[in-house]
Symmetry: C2
Subunit: 316 residues, 2 copies
Amino acid sequence: MRRIPIMCACLALLASCTTAKPEANEPEASARYTFWRPAPVQNAAEPSNVIKESLASDWRPIAPENLLIMELQGGGQVTIELASNFAPIHVANIKALARGGWWNPASVYRIQENYVVQWGLNESDKPLPAGVVKAPPAEYDRALAGLDIRPLGFPDSYAPMVGHADGWPVGYDPEAGRAWLAHCYGMVGVGRDLAPDTGTGGELYAVIGHSPRHLDLNIATVGRVIEGIDRLTAHPRGTEALGFIKDPKNHIRIARIRLAAEIPAAQRPAFEVMRTDTAAFSAYVTGRANRGGGFFNRPAGGVDLCNALVPTRRKT
Amino acid sequence: MRRIPIMCACLALLASCTTAKPEANEPEASARYTFWRPAPVQNAAEPSNVIKESLASDWRPIAPENLLIMELQGGGQVTIELASNFAPIHVANIKALARGGWWNPASVYRIQENYVVQWGLNESDKPLPAGVVKAPPAEYDRALAGLDIRPLGFPDSYAPMVGHADGWPVGYDPEAGRAWLAHCYGMVGVGRDLAPDTGTGGELYAVIGHSPRHLDLNIATVGRVIEGIDRLTAHPRGTEALGFIKDPKNHIRIARIRLAAEIPAAQRPAFEVMRTDTAAFSAYVTGRANRGGGFFNRPAGGVDLCNALVPTRRKT
């Protein structure tokens, strides 16, 4: 019985600690205490103003080799940044599939409300291009060493720690020395069958709902949609289990998927991502955690990883 | 300098506490420590099985008086449960607007990617029906007393505590004695202008992206979509600022909005919500926090409030 007051006294050094009334149906004891207490910041900079006032040096380009461009039949395109530092073999596969024209054509065959949209060839037997590794290892996390992580500064419901590294949202565990990409809205992963299958990269999905962070560490996360996610979301949901679209006639046709690097330099689109090791990004996170202006009366004093999406912008 | 080891030692009673390497661009000191450490549960029940095996007594009906039915022109409907215990004056307004036929017809005039869809009459001068309070108080939170909250059991990025009360996702602050509805996917709120305006209830929105919890405590949250949210999401996004749809011809027409209570009992739809004060709901939360089965290799050991959406089901 003495442990509770001791914990409270110590936690108070960090944040206040309050007992809630015990419930009939109560979870583990620790849940009866506040894990932290938000400390709202009044008059924080508006995130949009932080972006507006940022310097050119606050941004990094997306290499054309890491930019995947998916062109839909009938117009519209979706651009995706590949995270080559997190799932290198899966990303190399995706690049080989693009260069080999494997997806030309392909289709969006799954749209599940509040979850994911998925595309590719859906269990086709089409031979894989040269260079594609058929059974990549489970690249679901990586070494923490080598990543320059900016801690978010707020608790997370899934990971011991979360933050941003090189423009990506990550969960990490300093004790285990591991880090992984977080399944935020717009993140792209590799569809797979049951373990030990890890997917080749031929079937991809993007998150289109509340960030399904339970997928973290369970699947190869390989990138994020930079532009055009509305081309994937603004369609009727699939009516089969898991949102699969029953009638192939209703699949959304993809004319081709290629790397920006395959397009002549003068014609390729170019994008930038806000650097996450800058004072500008810190101001952006503080602004996201403390929305103000004329509309918000009470800044939250906290933000979750997936509501602090790293800003991106089109250059050409 | 002595405070850090003391905190670590004390926090270790709750969870392990690890220092991460200090960053050049570092947020407040507390962020360098783990707030908690997930404790995954192997072989937790699958959430779908918990629902399948639940008892009739694990569910509560939605009163017809709290069920709003929005019929779209050309077919399709969206049903919404109203949270009369959280924003009673705004909810009473919505009921009066429905009974007065104020929205017949109305339209969806805003669809913002990864944020909200909004409907109503959009700044119409149409006189309000009798009984509608023109300037309701800011019902953005309520007394904690009187709510039977089941704590979620995992940390939250926004609130000191989160959990579920009477089937609703809530944030709460035991110290302040206040509680509020959380802006999870599918939750419905009242559009408003700048403060002190709080909205009449005539303009409503539903969340269709990663849960924008920064809206909590800043707006009257009045309910959630129970069925048919895909009727709101599967449309082209508005191209104006904030996702407003420029051309009224592209608005989505709403034929009428009424309460289930206005429909003869034999014809009205009926829904149930899982009770959140039951062992079944606790098993459901544990299952959501520890996905298993053949697909998930590593249960998370945690879940955020908005990934533990309370199950609902249609009865008739």
